[in-house]
Symmetry: none
Subunit: 70 residues, 2 copies
DNA sequence: TCTTAATGGGGTAATTCGGGGA
DNA sequence: TCTGTCCGAATTACCCCATTAA
């Protein structure tokens, strides 16, 4: 038995969820990702997922924390 | 922080656990396995289990290490 | 053995992808 | 320059019910 401080359990958001938060079209979010303004993780099928903490920070200007660091 | 019962060489994840990591439906993970994008191990009842190291690598793009190699 | 949640298979609706043009 | 929209194709989500896992 071992105890691990889990490395990365980051909540991810879908393109439409991010788009809703910014009141923007999902396609615009895709462009932000392609231009490097927003980092993204890809599903095995090629769809993008976005880090919630990064999105929140961009929305509020306040650095966010992950649940597993709290 | 997580507690792992390690004595095995490879930690296995359930479909729902993998789905949560990718922010995807469990059925989608099943499709990845069927199409060969993700390798899977079957329980004797036919349910799929996935290698954590493989999932982590696909998520981050960084090769992971097993606890018994560290 | 019993209960409950999760998974599998199949089918269909919704979302996202990429490119291109307004 | 930035965003919204149209298109076809691909991927993913949600619905059912039977079986398996815990």
């Amino acid at each position: 038995m071992s105890v691990t401080h889990s490395s990365d359990s980051e909540t991810l958001l879908t393109p439409s969820e991010v788009a809703t938060l910014f009141r923007v079209d999902p396609k615009t979010v895709t462009r932000w990702a392609k231009s490097g303004k927003l980092s993204s993780i890809r599903t095995l099928g090629g769809h993008r997922r976005y880090r919630e903490s990064e999105v929140r920070e961009l929305l509020t200007g306040v650095p966010q924390q992950r649940a597993d660091e709290r």
